[in-house]
Amino acid sequence: MYKYNADDLALIQERAAQFRDQVARWSAGTLANDDFRPLRLMNGVYVQRHAPLLRVAVPYGMVSADQLRTLARISRRYDKGYGHFTTRHNLQLNWVRIEDVPDILDELAKVEMHAIQTSGNCIRNVSSDQFAGVAPDEVIDPRPLAEILRQWSTFHPEFAYLPRKFKIAISGSADDRTLGWYHDIGLQLDSAAGEPTFTVLVGGGLGRTPLRAQVLKKNLPWRHILSYLEAIVRVFNLNGRRDNPYKARLKILVQSLGLREFTRQVAAEWAALKDGPATLTDAEYQRVAACFVAPNYKTLPAQDKQLEAQKTAHPDFARWLARSLHPHKIPGYAAVTLSLKAPGQAPGDLTADQMDAVALLADTFSFGEARVAHEQNLVLADVEQGRLFELWQAAQKVGLATPNIGLLTDMICCPGGALCDLANAQSVAIAQAIQARFDNLDTLTDIGELSLNISGCINACGHHHVGNIGILGVDRQGEEYYQITLGGRQGKDARTGKVIGPAVAADRVPDVVENIIKVYTRERRPQEKFSATFERIGSAQFKPCLKENFA
């Protein structure tokens, strides 16, 4: 993990002190509400339905055991003893008092954490791949450059008041686990002649106007990434719309200028910035990369000898393994996803006791580190295969071993009406109703890999557009209705789904999902994934699923 030096630490301490002063002036009435609002947003403080929330950054998803323990302590002391992991690696504390936030920031700073730029119209927490550094399909570990981007974007004085929020994802693998196609900027690292290069995707986003990114530049040498990003963000800052927040994202600018004209403007700007002081140096890359060197791996056989016997003796363990493991590039190791999607749990929620438990698991099994996946799960990236059984037993005790990773009940879901002011719908209640309907593991396993994403309103915080099944809460004359989209997907060929028909009432959603699953399992060819079946047979076949008399 990245280790702060004196400058890094001074910077976040200064910010915490500055925010303390801003809160004091706001409380005293010398800083007006409207003037305070963007300041608190840039420090991760939203005011939502019931209470302010604090969104703590987990930069590119890396979190240490010590940090988890601090988060647990903070959530007990200042909140209700739990937190919510978002789709962009942040932890939301939903019930803080604004007056306590300065103290919380001080405590976070002690473990090299902060809430900087987790909301507001600025460059947000950079997100990345939860299997960075360990995935066999990885070309280049994205984390050193992700950290370099974190530093570059932190308090960037020119880009603190952009037309709208700005989200960057960075990936270094053959597959894309970062949803790069649906970020303002998606960065894909590759390697040309031994040097890292970037493919720069631009203008993606979800929300009201879901748009897939377009390729802006290929083969950009890594040294130029900061000047190139400055060129893009400057063009956006000067030209993005500011009259309507729904038209203010970069995607709208790229769409209205057209890719050619946007590319021309960025190229003109970059011509003046290229090779300037923002050009990265080998020394800086190496300094940061030194924090991400491989841990002290043991030399192990590629296949652990006992594992097969353990699987045979414990079918539940075998079932959990089948869902929770991701291959590892070091022989004898595996990356393990801990499910935050247990039945009855709000997707992505974790109690303080569980945070402590994950810290202990990380210390015991994975070199003291964990990661946050954008699917709202946690990952222990470096587990010896020979210790998986032990890990499974320990994870089970704290409710983190639900064998549903990648299955229908591993839903992405926003907090919705339970917490969010903008919600049309109780997305968590819908998630729980679907979980309850699909509580049989055999059924779930038979259905196979399938993503179901739920957003409580058109802002799409729950990524409903890119779920195989997407569920969106809409308001119908004061009543909660749900619009169903099908065929979305993540990954290298990510795309958004299609609306299959009119929205349905809340109590019908589990039926409709079940109908969709019936059609899919009836029509699919062997091994065929949902989105492929959907594309092959088309939405007409699924449309009857919305009807009450579907048989």
Partner: protein, 185 residues
């Protein structure tokens, strides 16, 4: 007009303000003698008159100004250039200031006018602003006090990225590169 904050000789100070913003429809010959910041359209329509009648003149630029508008001007001729913040959350002027300094090598005063608040002042300073006409309801003394921390040092001494101040990113300056020991027991 409320007091002006200026950055001169390495420090922020209160200063008397001897500039006024000319109305958008001003006919320069009808304005009383004084130091005027002319809106771009006024300048474009009356450049000759203004040059003939004043030794010192300044420019007022709306947030909508584009780099292409600037490149046609002889910016060095202006003693001051005012960049407007219609709302403090409208950040276009940050980029304009940086372009004026970096691209057009403008060395005169760049002042922030409009919805200018103390909490944004240091970001503006880092992108090339040197003078601030605060929003009417703001207290300039209080604003000055906010620029320093409890130890009397300037805030934001630890900027990561290069801008106008500092011109180089931290990794090209004297970065302290020794990791601290872990902070938690």
């Amino acid at each position: 007009m409320s007091a002006l904050i200026k950055y001169v000789d390495g420090g922020f100070n209160l200063s008397a303000d001897d500039w006024q913003i000319a109305p958008r429809d001003a006919a320069p010959q009808t304005l009383p003698a004084g130091n005027w910041l002319y809106p771009l359209a006024v300048w474009q329509a009356h450049e000759k008159t203004i040059r003939a009648q004043n030794k010192r003149f300044g420019l007022w630029l709306a947030a909508e100004t584009l780099p292409a508008d600037l490149s046609k001007l002889k910016v060095q001729d202006f003693a001051a250039i005012a960049l407007s913040f219609p709302k403090f959350a409208d950040g276009r002027a940050y980029s304009l200031a940086r372009l004026l300094r970096e691209r057009l090598v403008y060395t005169g005063e760049i002042r922030a006018v409009g919805d200018v608040l103390p909490d944004q002042l240091l970001y503006m300073w880092r992108t090339g602003f040197t003078a601030w006409a605060l929003r009417e309801d703001q207290n300039a003394d209080a604003a000055l006090a906010l620029l320093k921390n409890a130890a009397g040092q300037h805030m934001l001494r630890h900027a990561y990225q290069g801008a106008i101040i500092p011109p180089a990113p931290l990794f090209r300056r004297n970065a302290t590169q020794t990791p601290l020991p872990n902070q938690t027991p």
